[in-house]
Symmetry: C2
Subunit: 234 residues, 2 copies
């Protein structure tokens, strides 16, 4: 009669349907591991309260824990959970219907705001992520008009850069992740994660402090210009 998935659907959403737990999941969207104490301070509740919340989130499979000494590190279980939280968050962000007029690549990269980039779980977001995504689209490496997928040229582009694209499980090679500051899609999925990792490994950008913000290095600006035609702000 009723769908057998009903109780699981209710249980899953019930796991997120608490402001404290929701705050934890959103904080963990940066893809890094947080300690229980950090999350407790971040959410503004007692440590004992948050301990119980973490227990539920781990038991529910949304988080994985990693004990080191007297610390309990916790992170999102996998990319699927990150995508789930992203999807829910994208739905709930205000003004979803507003689509801004597309700016030219020159405008978007000349402002200097590209320095304001950040990671979203395991891929690049913020102005940096959007600029890269839009440059890839304009160069025919990515197509967004009929879905969201890499073109053959795009796959070749990753190969030329020596970035491996291993398809693990069911995770899509390319998928759109909606940025909540710019409200525009940026590249996520296996390709987005690989590109982000390469950008950090190759020194194209570096993390700023303990936040999820990243900054483009001079070498990174050269690389982005060479490979994507993105003119670095000077």
């Amino acid at each position: 009669m009723t769908d057998p998935a009903t109780p699981r659907l209710a249980a899953l959403t019930g796991l997120i349907a608490d402001e404290t737990r929701a705050a934890c999941l959103l904080a963990l969207l940066d893809g890094r591991a947080w300690t229980a104490g950090e999350l407790a301070r971040h959410a503004g509740v007692a440590a004992s309260t948050l301990s119980e919340h973490l227990g539920k989130l781990v038991a529910g499979g949304l988080l994985t824990e990693e004990r080191q000494g007297r610390h309990r590190y916790v992170r999102l279980a996998d990319a699927r959970v990150a995508q789930l939280v992203e999807d829910l968050t994208a739905y709930v962000r205000p003004g979803g219907a507003a689509v801004r007029a597309p700016r030219t690549l020159r405008e978007s990269s000349a402002s200097g705001a590209m320095a304001r980039g950040r990671t979203c779980y395991d891929h690049l977001a913020g102005h940096l992520g959007i600029t890269i995504t839009r440059a890839m689209t304009e160069r025919g490496l990515l197509r967004q008009d009929a879905g969201f997928a890499l073109t053959d040229e795009g796959i070749g582009w990753f190969g030329e850069l020596g970035i491996g694209l291993e398809r693990t499980g069911r995770r899509p090679l390319a998928r759109a992740c909606l940025d909540w500051t710019e409200r525009r899609p940026h590249l996520a999925g296996v390709a987005g994660a690989a590109l982000c990792r390469h950008a950090l490994d190759a020194g194209w950008c570096v993390r700023i402090g303990t936040e999820r913000a990243v900054k483009v290095t001079p070498a990174g600006a050269l690389a982005l210009d060479a490979h994507l035609g993105i003119v670095a702000p000077r």
Copy 2:
């Protein structure tokens, strides 16, 4: 400090985090309008209880209501809500190796028809939807290997059939929806909805009873063979 979307995320998931409301949303995934009484019987609760649930779901923007006489018809607000429920359901389903075996003959024939073809909100799912999606992929109309998008040939294919693809808002032209019986992706999005509507309008398939199951007509079999090379889909 904490993400401003936190309370909205908790509120949204809290709206779904109830077995009765979750059962309603899953039932409404067929894209049709249900009366309050039907949903009450389906969920197995008193009419008064369900009335309050509907009030919350409507107030929360997940459902829209339509009063006709002494009936209160309710349906999913839009495709975004349908996608949200689909995403959550897709997350919660794949773990289930426990697929209940139908017991009675009536159940088995009903589930068989559902597996063969059915609608998922506004697009085709089940074996029929997957077969069509696979055929489109093999013919180069759709690509799944690097994301999920129509190819230029695919866009032309819709044009040749006289199926209009209007880009409304930000709904993607093509997107994958995971089928829960076959556990394979099938075409959703604007293109999926347009194809489903065309299939019903042109008599390629007809609805069976009041469920969401659909059956391919002889004329539909000919059309699927002619346009996609599908031989006798069952």
